[in-house]
């Protein structure tokens, strides 16, 4: 099995989904001959032709809106939004149409579409290329929101997203696109969209995260292990619907929890996870929850982005406070 990067895994999953199902289409800006600005759609045009890989005009709103029309007609469009800072014009279509076509028509018309977009900072990009908008989508009923954190999970989760009968927003951490390689078997097996992943088992504290920050969280867990602290690391992966039980089970075991994400802390998905613990897992909590997240500031231009992104040091400091709490 070849070792591939996360972006290559995305590419592999797209190719697999397209090969398996003739209704799967890929569309977006520069997804064709250019193969996508990150090469996520590399080679697809050549392999599947220009009726299945469509370079669209530059207009995110109509990219989302035409996907609704295609999906209602039985296609499975996978739309790429080039960077997550340009995803906002899709919200109207996703909130007002895609997410509710099924319920509004009592199932007569449905909307099996995927909106993929690179997301997050840390690659010294230009303004608007480093946003983490997942929480806005996770608030919209009728959507699914998925964020992979490794090549294998990217492959399996993207296949699941494409096969899902309802609309999915799939946010790919740019920082991880080429950060590491992993063996990925192109077996066409989807991963479940209703379960979180335990990346590392542990007993002293639960670290909950998703996407790019899994990297810093796993590093922190390593550091902690060296100090004799056993941290359980959970990758939520599917942010909506959230696998509450997965998180609660871990917290029940450890009694302590730090939630880590890159998006601004206020009204981020971390808040929802903390709230669910406060509702259903309170009795197991031995210490206050902490969130280590992006500040409630605009994502800075890249010179300062490392001061914005949750660092291993910040995670460790939070973990130590939580562990010290009696």
């Amino acid at each position: 099995m070849p070792e591939i990067t996360l972006v290559e895994a995305v590419n592999l999953a797209l190719a697999r989904a397209m090969a398996d199902d003739a209704t799967v289409l890929v569309l977006g800006e520069d997804v064709g001959v250019d193969g996508g600005v990150f090469r996520a759609t590399n080679g697809l045009l050549k392999r599947f032709g220009k009726e299945r890989v469509l370079d669209t005009p530059l207009a995110e709103n109509v990219i989302a809106g035409m996907s609704v029309g295609l999906a209602a007609q039985g296609f499975r469009p996978v739309a790429e939004i080039q960077f997550s800072g340009f995803i906002y014009p899709t919200i109207d279509q996703l909130a007002n149409h895609a997410s509710r076509l099924r319920t509004r028509t009592r199932g007569r018309l449905t909307c099996p579409m995927v909106v993929r977009s690179p997301s997050g900072g840390g690659i010294r990009a230009v303004e608007h290329h480093s946003e983490s908008p997942e929480a806005m989508f996770a608030h919209i009923p009728g959507l699914r929101v998925v964020v992979p954190s490794s090549p294998a999970r990217a492959y399996g989760l993207l296949l699941a997203a494409i096969r899902d009968p309802d609309p999915v927003v799939f946010l790919e951490p740019t920082r991880l696109y080429r950060a590491s390689r992993e063996e990925v078997d192109d077996d066409g097996m989807a991963l479940p969209l209703d379960r979180c992943f335990v990346l590392r088992e542990g007993t002293d504290i639960t670290l909950v995260t998703w996407g790019a920050t899994t990297k810093e969280v796993l590093a922190a867990a390593d550091t902690l292990a060296a100090e004799g602290v056993s941290a359980e690391v959970i990758d939520v992966a599917t942010l909506k619907p959230l696998d509450t039980d997965g998180v609660l089970e871990s917290v029940a075991k450890t009694g302590r929890c730090v939630i880590v994400h890159e998006a601004p802390v206020t009204c981020g998905v971390g808040a929802e996870i903390a709230a669910r613990i406060a509702e259903r897992g309170l009795v197991s909590l031995l210490a206050p929850i902490e969130r280590v997240a992006g500040w409630d500031t605009v994502m800075p231009l890249y010179r300062l982005e490392q001061q914005y992104l949750p660092s291993e040091a910040r995670i460790l400091a939070a973990v130590r406070r939580v562990l010290a709490y009696q």
């Binding site: 207009a59 035409m66 009592r106 619907p241």
Partner: protein, 374 residues
């Protein structure tokens, strides 16, 4: 009188006469019957068949009856806010009459006439306006889109539908109707542009009733016609008398045939007038005068076609009475069925959110059912 400085500046800005023309465009307007119902030019072929004309007439009468009933139900608290199409019936009836059954209609919220003609039942429409999702689960016209409430957001859907037809090599067309106000929205511009560059089988129809709630077209855009919105997208646009159902049908039929044959999208601006309030929640007297509106009654599409039919001896008093009786009966029966339809249970709030209900929602569903029982 402009100041001397201003005049000088204006002179300075005279058009650059030395420049070379590189593209020319023209917008045309067509009408077959004048407001009195007199033909102003030879009628199109289909109009030689009296059955066709009568069915257009019936479609408009049905729409108006439906409207009146819906407004009455709203006024008596038995229907939600409703958007009447009074005086504009020729638009969507003309469009729908030109469509094939397997084309797809993407209507805005004011096109009941066309929806009824497509086979959407008056009960379904009442259910929708009565706040019940079953109203969009059409038993016929199964691929048609539900009423689009946000202005213009269905134009991108039409692009997707048309693309689906093109990719499957089906000879079908997506027909999308929206108002004059919608032409200000980026959604419409983006959709026209994509339909144009991909040469998609989509027909866009502007129901220009001259008002977007309180905003007249003159405050909506400086464009001389709305049909010229097509020029930006490099597609063909034309204007028709939207109170002449023959003109609407003929222009739509031509556009559909062109699209079906691979000739690409088309934009039709149908000029009509909103005789009523914007919706039952609106009071148009706040922003436009009664006399101005009254004048437009002289353009009424129903009277116009009837005048023609009568003049051609294709229609008489008994026909009219029979039709009215039949249409009223159908609408009354629909209203009764609507009123007798019990609401759905609260579980239906949940059951169509996803194909498979996630665990969170299973729990919330139970809580909701519990709350109702309590």
């Amino acid at each position: 009188m402009p100041s001397a400085e201003r005049i000088e500046e204006l002179l300075e800005t005279r058009r650059d006469v030395g420049a070379t023309p590189v593209a020319r465009f023209e917008i045309r307007y067509s009408r077959y019957l004048d407001p009195k119902g007199n033909p102003v030019r030879p009628l199109p072929d289909f109009a030689r068949d009296p059955g066709e004309l009568v069915s257009l007439y019936r479609g408009m009468v049905l729409a108006r009856r439906f409207d009146a009933k819906a407004v009455a139900l709203q006024r008596t608290g038995r229907l939600g806010t409703f958007a009447s199409s009074l005086g504009q019936e020729a638009v969507s009836v003309g469009v729908a009459s030109a469509m094939r059954a397997d084309d797809v209609l993407l209507p805005s919220f004011r096109e009941h006439g066309g929806q009824l003609l497509r086979g959407v039942s008056p009960v379904e429409l009442l259910l929708f306006w009565g706040g019940d999702e079953r109203g969009s689960d059409f038993a016929e016209a199964c691929e048609d889109f539900p009423v689009c409430v946000p202005v213009g957001t269905h134009a991108p859907h039409a692009v997707g539908v048309a693309l689906a037809f093109k990719l499957r090599r089906e000879k079908r067309v997506a027909a999308c109707i929206f108002g004059d106000g919608a032409t200000s929205k980026g959604d419409v511009a983006e959709a026209l542009n994509v339909a144009g560059v991909w040469n998609l089988p989509a027909v866009f129809l502007i129901n220009n009733n001259h008002w977007a709630i309180s905003v007249p077209v003159s405050q909506q855009t400086a464009a001389e016609t709305l049909a010229q919105k097509a020029i930006s997208a490099g597609i063909e646009g034309e204007q028709v008398d939207g109170n002449d159902v023959i003109a609407v049908r003929e222009a739509t039929a031509r556009a559909l045939a062109k699209a079906r044959a691979g000739g690409g999208p088309h934009l039709i601006e149908a000029l009509t007038y909103r005789l009523g309030d914007h919706t039952t929640a609106d009071d148009a007297s706040r922003y436009r005068s009664g006399p101005d509106v009254s004048a437009h009654w002289a353009e009424d599409p129903i009277t116009r076609l009837r005048n023609y039919l009568v003049a051609e001896r294709l229609w008489g008093k008994t026909d009219e009475e029979k039709l009215l009786g039949e249409v009223s009966g159908a609408i009354e029966r629909a209203a009764e069925t609507y009123l007798a339809t019990p609401p759905q249970g609260p579980e239906t709030i949940f059951d169509y959110t996803y194909e498979r209900l996630p665990k969170d929602l299973v729990e919330q569903r139970e809580a909701a059912l519990g709350a109702v029982q309590r």
